[in-house]
């Protein structure tokens, strides 16, 4: 990568007419050439339930199981959750679950729900691993379920889908700071590429600023799950939710800073999916109040 490609400035965003408010759009940049030119489309499912969290933010596991089932049915187009899971993984797969461990973590109840659903779909319990921070075990997995918590990140703008695999890279620090636009590269490493069967974002209680170190003022009970098979599209919808929440909190535009370059680059440089909201269909299921998208 040349130095000129790496030295992205504020002016680059302003030139393409997006300001820095919409980091997912860099279509005017000559060096951010699209990996694929064809017209694309993606579907992202958003499932919400008003009662999945108590007033004390505790998870109702029964309701969460139901939300997960609806999400998988919607993503796969199958009539039942079990059929849906079977279309995503087979009983012979070694399935690696990749929750977020950092300070705004994936809820344990969601990890347990996915594990139970996989077992119900015929995957042996012994073939289901939690591989977060266990790069060596990722190679032995034949399928991955990416299940981060939805959160902003002070270094990358958003720290959800693409940041979730950072420990699978050879040198995680190589993706820090000004190099975070390269996070999509990890998804193309041989031991990772093509294995992600489902991206399932825990949006029960997201964090809209200064993550991952939690400031509770920026947490809110969104009570949702985001799911899809296009990681860029799922990240883009999550980004839209966080952005909308920030503006609602401040009552004025409050763009993520730094802009979430990793989303745009996952699309245009690494060809992992679409970041353009006009190419994304959102299937909305359940509670609609305060959906923000």
């Amino acid at each position: 990568m040349s130095e000129s490609r790496r030295s992205l400035t504020r002016r680059d965003f302003v030139r393409v007419g997006t300001g820095v408010a919409v980091g997912a759009s860099l279509s005017g940049l000559t060096w951010a050439q699209p990996a694929a030119q064809a017209k694309r489309s993606a579907v992202v499912t958003l499932v919400r339930h008003a009662d999945v969290l108590t007033a004390g933010h505790q998870v109702d596991s029964g309701l969460l199981d139901g939300m997960l089932a609806e999400a998988v049915k919607s993503v796969t187009g199958k009539g039942s959750a079990q059929e849906g899971w079977r279309s995503l993984v087979s009983p012979k797969d070694v399935v690696g679950l990749v929750p977020t461990r950092a300070l705004a973590p994936t809820h344990d109840e969601l990890v347990a729900a996915v594990r139970s659903a996989l077992v119900a779909a015929g995957v042996p319990e012994s073939n289901i691993l939690n591989v977060q921070n266990r790069k060596a075990e990722v190679g032995s997995c034949t399928a991955l379920i990416c299940m981060p918590g939805l959160k902003a990140h002070w270094l990358t703008g958003i720290g959800t889908v693409f940041k979730n695999y950072i420990m699978f890279g050879d040198t995680p620090s190589a993706y820090h700071d000004e190099n975070n636009d390269r996070l999509g590269e990890i998804w193309l490493l041989p031991h990772v590429k093509g294995k992600t069967r489902l991206v399932l974002v825990d949006a029960l209680r997201p964090l809209c600023d200064k993550g991952p170190q939690v400031d509770p003022r920026y947490l809110w009970d969104y009570k949702g799950l985001l799911a899809g098979v296009d990681p860029v599209a799922v990240e883009a919808v999550g980004l839209k939710i966080i952005t909308a929440r920030r503006e609602a909190l401040k009552g004025e535009p409050w763009p993520l800073s730094p802009p979430p370059l990793c989303v745009a680059m996952a699309d245009r440089r690494y060809g992992l999916g679409t970041s353009k909201l006009e190419e994304i269909t959102i299937n909305r299921i359940g509670w609609a109040e305060g959906a923000l998208v």
């Binding site: 790496r6 030295s7 992205l8 400035t9 504020r10 002016r11 965003f13 302003v14 030139r15 300001g19 820095v20 004390g56 461990r101 950092a102 300070l103 990140h153 002070w154 270094l155 720290g159 940041k163 820090h176 700071d177 000004e178 636009d181 600023d209 200064k210 993550g211 991952p212 170190q213 400031d215 509770p216 003022r217 947490l219 800073s257 730094p258 802009p259 370059l261």
Partner: protein
């Protein structure tokens, strides 16, 4: 589009004075604890602060252990967030737990920074929350322009001397809030009050024809990562920030007769010496204003119209002032001039 032209600004002598940092011409290596201390020399003794924390507060009882986190282990403690503290001059972190019942804990995090300016810097990354009084007023007797402690959602963030503290109750109740505030007061009592960094205090409240400083936007910094969190400028460190540099960024809102969206961003930086400031100014121009490199003979001062308004940049001695997104050329001139005067005040007081 391009309309580069020299900016003539009367130079106060102070920024051309003897630098406090390394000798002119020397490129100082980046190291953890930079040599330049423009202010905030207050250092707080960890033992005094920890000793001031009560054995019991409300229903919560203090655990005997103090967990020590060093720079080398900070990522083990806070995966992905340690950079916030390392972007300033971080010494170490002590963590103390209070427990009432399972799931009802209060965590006290004491970040011992190298100077009071560093502690201010961490707090200045976010001025949101409810300002609360936890300690004595500044020894200088000056009116407090920024709160020392902010509470919200069960979390108290405060600065006191060179300590930055986060005190968080897992379950927010009236009782937990009271306990958290009491712990904040104990910390503040054990450490010496100190003013905001000189560079922040020197910012003009108004500039030009009625531009007003947004105090809740003022951020003291030493790192381009922090700058980008407040105001994205570039992926790269084009202003050559490091621990030996004092910087501040702030937003000004336009006067009533201007559109409601009118705003200007300023970035003011003081380097250890003029050579380092010149290097930074050159790098900024190369990366951000390549127009000024095209044989126009502009080296020390520029006002350039770019896509989102006028940019003003000028180096004077070891100081560098930037004004961005200015609607008019004269705004850029006024902001750069005001910025250099602010930087100059610091030089005068430093000398």
């Amino acid at each position: 589009m391009l309309a580069g032209s020299p900016l003539v600004v009367a130079l106060a002598a102070s920024c051309n004075g003897m630098p406090a940092g390394p000798r002119a011409g020397a490129v100082e290596p980046i190291h953890q604890n930079g040599p330049a201390r423009s202010g905030g020399e207050v250092q707080t003794a960890p033992t005094a602060v920890i000793a001031a924390l009560p054995a019991r507060v409300g229903e919560w009882t203090r655990a005997p252990e103090v967990r020590r986190i060093e720079a080398a282990t900070i990522f083990d403690y806070m995966d992905g967030a340690g950079e916030i503290y390392l972007a300033y001059r971080f010494g170490h972190l002590d963590v103390i737990e209070y427990a009432a019942a399972p799931g009802d804990e209060i965590t006290v995090e004491l970040y011992f920074m190298e100077s009071a300016d560093d502690a201010f810097g961490v707090l200045s990354m976010d001025w949101g929350g409810e300002p609360v009084v936890v300690g004595q007023p500044s020894l200088s007797g000056e009116a407090e322009e920024w709160p020392r402690a902010l509470y919200g959602g069960g979390l108290l963030r405060l600065r006191s001397g060179s300590v930055y503290a986060r005190i968080m109750g897992v379950r927010e109740t009236e009782a937990s809030k009271q306990a958290v505030l009491d712990l904040g007061r104990a910390i503040a009592t054990a450490s010496q009050a100190s003013p905001a960094p000189q560079l922040a205090r020197a910012l003009s409240g108004t500039v030009g024809a009625g531009w007003r400083l947004r105090r809740d936007s003022v951020c003291f910094l030493r790192s381009h990562l922090v700058l980008n969190s407040a105001y994205f400028l570039s992926q790269q460190n084009i202003l050559n920030f490091w621990h030996g540099v004092d910087g501040v960024t702030a937003r000004f809102d336009g006067p009533p007769e201007r559109p409601a969206t009118a705003r200007v961003r300023v970035v003011l930086v003081r380097y250890p010496d003029a050579h380092l400031a010149r290097q930074a100014a050159t790098r900024f121009r190369q990366a951000y204003l390549p127009e000024t490199q095209r044989g126009q003979g502009i080296e020390e001062a520029s006002v350039v119209r770019i896509e989102d308004g006028w940019v003003g940049v000028q180096r004077r001695g070891r100081c560098l002032a930037l004004a961005l997104e200015c609607p008019e050329r004269e705004d850029a001139v006024a902001f750069v001039q005001a910025g250099l005067e602010s930087l100059g005040e610091g030089e005068a007081s430093h000398e």
